[in-house]
Symmetry: C2
């Protein structure tokens, strides 16, 4: 009775004494991944799988110089291959949305600094314009009012502030570019999520759910609260009010719902988003537009 044994190098037939009596060596990772060689040798030799207690002894065969180099190389190749295929759309989505969140904070910090600095020169502008991005644009584009209470500073002082404003503008632009990039990936990878939640919220859900697969397996009630973990744990610990929504709070359907219906809107939206995640993960139909209409109808 022979044993059959497969490793990264090939499929081997061993006799009772664990001597190699036949083998088929793999020429590529694909041959290793397909089970063709095993089936072939199995057919040729009447053999059974190597029992566990003989495994160590068998492995020692491959410490032989004849196999060792190849063994090492092929394993390296396999690892590389595994790593290459471990990176997918989830990773790109998570990195992009994480950077969007950081850019929001950064643009905010830098805009506040610019307001403080530029207000020495033109304080009225900051009072008039609340929106940071608009403010930064006006610093670059608008002459100051000659009636200003601000100090007359030198060209080189103003120049320094305008350089800062230019950098902030380019960070806002990068944030927008990241959103387009997300939309591009998601329109193929998770079109239903994209359609119903929009790029930013959908990406945040995938980030918080640790990937589309995992998100698809979560119950809708968890999807509803993704991003509200802090409030949820506080609720469990101290009995404070339980949170009604996580990152989906920014969705227009919840934003526009009357106050006493926000909780209901969040539950209904989370139900549909959960379905979207499943449709996308299992490559199902494009049903999000119907879901959207249904929700809009019920929440009106």
């Amino acid at each position: 009775m022979n044993y059959i044994f497969t490793n990264i190098l090939g499929t081997f037939i061993l006799d009772e004494k664990l001597t190699i009596v036949d083998s088929l060596l793999f020429k590529s990772l694909e041959e290793y991944k397909s089970k063709a060689a095993e089936a072939k040798l199995q057919q040729k030799h009447n053999s059974k799988p190597l029992p566990k207690e003989k495994l160590l002894q068998t492995l020692l065969l491959f410490k032989d110089a004849k196999y060792y180099h190849d063994f090492y190389q092929k394993n390296l190749e396999l690892t590389k291959d595994g790593l290459k295929h471990a990176v997918n759309e989830d990773n790109m989505i998570m990195q992009a949305i994480a950077n969007i969140n950081e850019l929001d904070k950064i643009a905010n910090t830098m805009s506040k600094r610019l307001r403080e600095w530029y207000s020495l020169y033109y304080p009225e502008l900051s009072e008039k314009i609340e929106n940071h991005e608009k403010y930064v644009e006006l610093v670059l584009e608008q002459e100051r009012n000659p009636e200003t209470f601000g100090a007359d500073l030198s060209e080189s002082d103003i120049e320094e502030m305008k350089l800062l404003a230019g950098r902030i503008i380019s960070l806002y632009a990068l944030r927008k570019q990241h959103e387009l990039y997300l939309e591009k990936i998601m329109s193929k990878y998770c079109p239903n999520m994209l359609e119903l939640a929009g790029a930013t919220i959908a990406a945040r859900l995938i980030e918080l759910g640790k990937g589309l697969k995992h998100l698809a397996l979560l119950p809708a009630s968890t999807v509803q609260l993704l991003g509200a973990e802090k409030a949820l744990f506080r609720h469990l610990k101290t009995g404070s009010r339980s949170p009604k929504y996580g990152v989906i709070i920014n969705h227009p359907l919840i934003q526009n719902a009357p106050r006493d219906k926000k909780g209901k809107a969040a539950r209904m939206l989370a139900d549909k988003l959960s379905l979207c995640a499943r449709l996308d993960y299992f490559k199902g139909e494009f049903k999000a537009p119907d879901y959207r209409k249904e929700l809009e109808g019920k929440l009106q």
Copy 2:
């Protein structure tokens, strides 16, 4: 006997019944600031300063429509003038150094994000290069090694990361520009501080000291600890070891001192920096190069 009274509109001579009998109106803020009109009318009329108990009644004269508009306008002008002159080099230095500190943190955050993201594509580069700025440059300039363990990503994925890298580079450049700007201001405003401490440390001291004037009035022992307030209060509260230095810790003379002499070096440097602040504030000589030589000699 007449009274003499000056406000923003002019100098007035009033009789016993507080009727205006003579006046010199100001044409500019400069005339208000000089006391010429007062001296002139004083010479012409034998008058004494308006006693306090008559002030309210006198002020009511100026509620008259004849004066009110001018009174309001001139006061506005005076306030504006005060505000304009309240902004000086201290403000520019404080804003620029505050922004440098923020940019350091921001470039750090963004570089870490880039490392995480780009490492999905080329992990070996991040392992090899520790310095953030150098790393970001290489992301833009260097092709990846074909032997990499990283995943093969699409052009649009890489493009997104390179856009991020470009923004980080431009923030590093802005930081350098701010340093040049600081040097330019300080070479006139506080050349001694600049020479002995360098732009960044000198600016941090002026920021922490709330301006050059205030810094010049601080004892050297306080200058030594500026920036170490947290450790100092902990020391006072809990009896932990007292801090030896604040922001001057980054000065080469302290960095290069042997460990057991760092405290002494900090004390000596702070003494000289305190002298520099005073020389600069009172527009004294340029002695910093001598101080530097003296310190280098003693600390060798």
